[in-house]
């Protein structure tokens, strides 16, 4: 178990290393060269010269790479040129990261809360009306571009019906105290209930839009997995014991069917981030996704660089966690080398 984790951590380090190389190459290939990219059009000659020296552009390439790494390690990714001009890229990241985290978390929760029960029911009543409708629904969920779905939600529920706010993370008027950066949590900690509720209300529509991506996949995998398990011999044994349906469902079917689903949930975090870029843009939600969208539009490379590294890093880390947790959940892997 320990060896396994260590091996995976080592792989993680290698992947991050290669990623840094790729990003370094990417930075150097940007149109106009790295200095123009990082400083934007309007930098003075003096600033350019200073950055050129900092990046070591007049020195051999391995020195440049080293400087790139040390700058990155110290958190210095430069100053934003388009998203929030003047702020440091790291500051922007720290400000916006909790927002996207809250949003993604809620989206995954929704996707799981709807996808898993629906997948189970669809499998149980295979070929029935619920099954067929859910399958069609999930296929449509894949076919509809997420930003269009976000549009429709916004238009119907926020603009036309006015049930939800159309943009942002918190209403301007509310003066909330910030503790952790997670608005809902902050509201609860400081007992400013209206602030917490306000934050929740702002999250709902974007979270629903974002959840459409993982929902489809979680539903289909749950359904397929449950169908496989229902055919297994041990379910027949459980039936022959005369156990009640709830017990069989919980202890025999679901416990076995959930294994592949858990892996899938981990993999969906990557898709979530991509979806967040589009969704946050539609709802003007001040998270990392919006920063990426605006940053790309305005060619704000300092911000883009940092955010892409973080996105890849998070994704790789989550996958590692999923692998490890799989080993914990499945007793067959956990007790490797058990007595036979």
């Amino acid at each position: 178990m320990l060896r396994y984790t260590v091996r995976r951590l080592l792989q993680l380090v290698i992947v991050v290393g290669v990623l840094s190389l790729l990003l370094f190459a990417w930075l150097r290939s940007l149109p106009g060269g790295p200095v123009s990219a990082l400083l934007g059009e309007r930098a003075t000659a003096a600033t350019r010269a200073r950055l050129t020296e900092e990046l070591g552009l007049d020195q051999p390439i391995y020195v440049q790479y080293w400087k790139f790494l040390t700058r990155a390690a110290s958190g210095d990714f430069g100053v934003s040129t388009g998203v929030q001009p003047g702020d440091s890229a790291m500051e922007i990241f720290l400000q916006r990261f909790p927002a996207t985290l809250e949003l993604s978390f809620l989206a995954i929760v929704i996707a799981i809360a709807v996808g898993i029960p629906l997948g189970y029911l669809a499998a149980r009543r295979r070929g029935g009306l619920l099954d067929n409708m859910s399958i069609v629904g999930s296929l449509i969920g894949v076919a509809v571009p997420v930003f269009f779905f976000a549009f429709v939600l916004k238009q119907v529920f926020a603009v036309d019906l006015g049930w939800f706010p159309t943009a942002g993370r918190q209403t301007g008027g509310i003066d909330a105290t910030r503790v952790t950066g997670f608005f809902i949590l902050d509201g609860i900690i400081t007992q400013e209930w209206d602030a917490a509720w306000d934050a929740i209300v702002h999250l709902i529509l974007p979270a629903i839009a974002l959840s459409s991506i993982p929902f489809s996949v979680i539903f289909r995998i749950t359904r397929a997995s449950v169908l496989d398990v229902l055919d297994e011999d041990f379910v027949r044994t459980a039936e022959s014991k005369g156990l009640t349906t709830p017990v069989i469902r919980r202890r025999h079917v679901l416990r076995n069917a959930m294994l592949p689903v858990v892996t899938t949930i981990g993999l969906q975090t990557g898709a979530l981030l991509a979806g967040a870029v589009l969704t946050e843009k539609v709802f003007a939600f001040p998270g990392i996704g919006q920063a990426l969208a605006i940053g790309f539009e305005r060619r704000d490379y300092p911000v883009l660089l940092l955010l892409i590294i973080c996105a890849a890093g998070v994704f790789v880390l989550v996958n590692l966690l999923v692998d490890v947790s799989y080993a914990l959940i499945d007793p067959r892997i956990r007790t490797m080398g058990g007595a036979r």
Partner: protein, 311 residues
């Protein structure tokens, strides 16, 4: 004795034992099942209609999609866009071009984007995956690590990063960006099928007979990988169209919008979506239907080709 034997034969035939199908190949059996599968048929009809439309659209579109003939009805200051009127059943777009014609002709570019991106992704993935799967060893390790790293960056972000490398985005940079994201998907798929076959009996038999390695790869292993590749291609086609739309939405797409493309139309419609949702609704609807068509085909193909299928 003979009457009894004849009688037995007759009875057995009636019961359906004699005269069963002679063995049919896997693909022929799959095709037979597919022909009657409503999911596959629906998807197939949609896809065929889409392709026919793409080919015929320049001839059946009522107006030239690039000409802003209703331009005088567009008043930017008052946010007015030409409404539905005789000769223009869907009205006009923000510049005054006939929306219906743009929609019809847009199918061409959209199909082009989807097909090209898929082909490029497929070719790239084929080369990488075949090399890795057929050669094995360190080639396999290196290639697959590279693929893993590419897969560790979420698709849209990867496409965006590649798009950023180009100073002047156009339709081909869009295609390349989308295609690059699909390469690792195909690579992993091909490597998987090749690897599975390397240890299979039919390859072993070919090697024992002295068939040259290149012939084994091209004549024995690749044809067997065809099934999953076709399935994945249809799904990737759907994904490419949607990803291209997303990239257009973010601004990567072709800025020259005289040649219409659905993703691009959807992207530019975002500015006026509050007042004129139909400009977004129509291209979105087309994208959704076509993507659905390809997905339905792909999914039913997958189930038909899976030997462990439940039917």
């Amino acid at each position: 004795m003979s009457t009894r034997t004849e009688k037995i034969d007759a009875l057995a035939k009636k019961a359906g034992h004699i005269g069963d199908d002679p063995g049919v190949s896997l693909t022929a059996a799959a095709w037979r099942r597919l022909r009657r599968n409503p999911v596959f048929l629906t998807g197939g009809v949609i896809v065929m209609a889409f392709v026919v439309l793409a080919i015929l659209s320049p001839f059946i579109a009522p107006h030239d999609p690039a000409v802003p003939m209703l331009g005088d009805q567009v008043i930017k200051a008052r946010n007015q866009i030409p409404p539905s009127q005789p000769g223009h059943p869907l009205g006009g777009d923000q510049v005054g071009r006939d929306l219906l014609s743009r929609l019809l002709v847009g199918s061409q570019q959209t199909l082009l984007v989807g097909v090209l991106a898929t082909l490029i992704g497929l070719t790239g993935g084929l080369v990488l995956g075949t090399l890795a799967g057929a050669l094995g060893g360190w080639v396999d390790t290196v290639v697959m690590r590279a693929v893993d790293i590419m897969l560790s960056i979420p698709g849209l972000l990867l496409a965006v990063s590649i798009g950023a490398l180009f100073a002047r985005p156009n339709i081909y940079t869009l295609i390349v960006a989308v295609a690059t994201v699909q390469i690792p998907v195909f690579a992993r798929l091909l490597r998987g099928t090749m690897l599975a076959q390397r240890h299979s009996d039919h390859v072993l038999a070919a090697r024992a007979l002295g068939v040259k390695p290149r012939a084994i790869v091209f004549r024995h292993m690749l044809p067997n990988s065809l099934g999953p590749v076709i399935v994945q291609s249809t799904l990737v086609l759907a994904i490419s169209i949607i990803e291209a739309a997303g990239l257009s939405f973010l601004g990567l797409g072709n800025p020259d919008d005289r040649t219409p493309e659905w993703g691009q139309m959807l992207g530019t419609a975002q500015n006026v979506i509050d007042s004129h949702p139909q400009l977004a609704f129509w291209p979105a609807g087309c994208i959704i239907v076509v993507a659905l068509g390809f997905t339905l085909m792909g999914e039913s193909l997958r189930e038909a080709l899976d030997p462990k299928s439940r039917r």
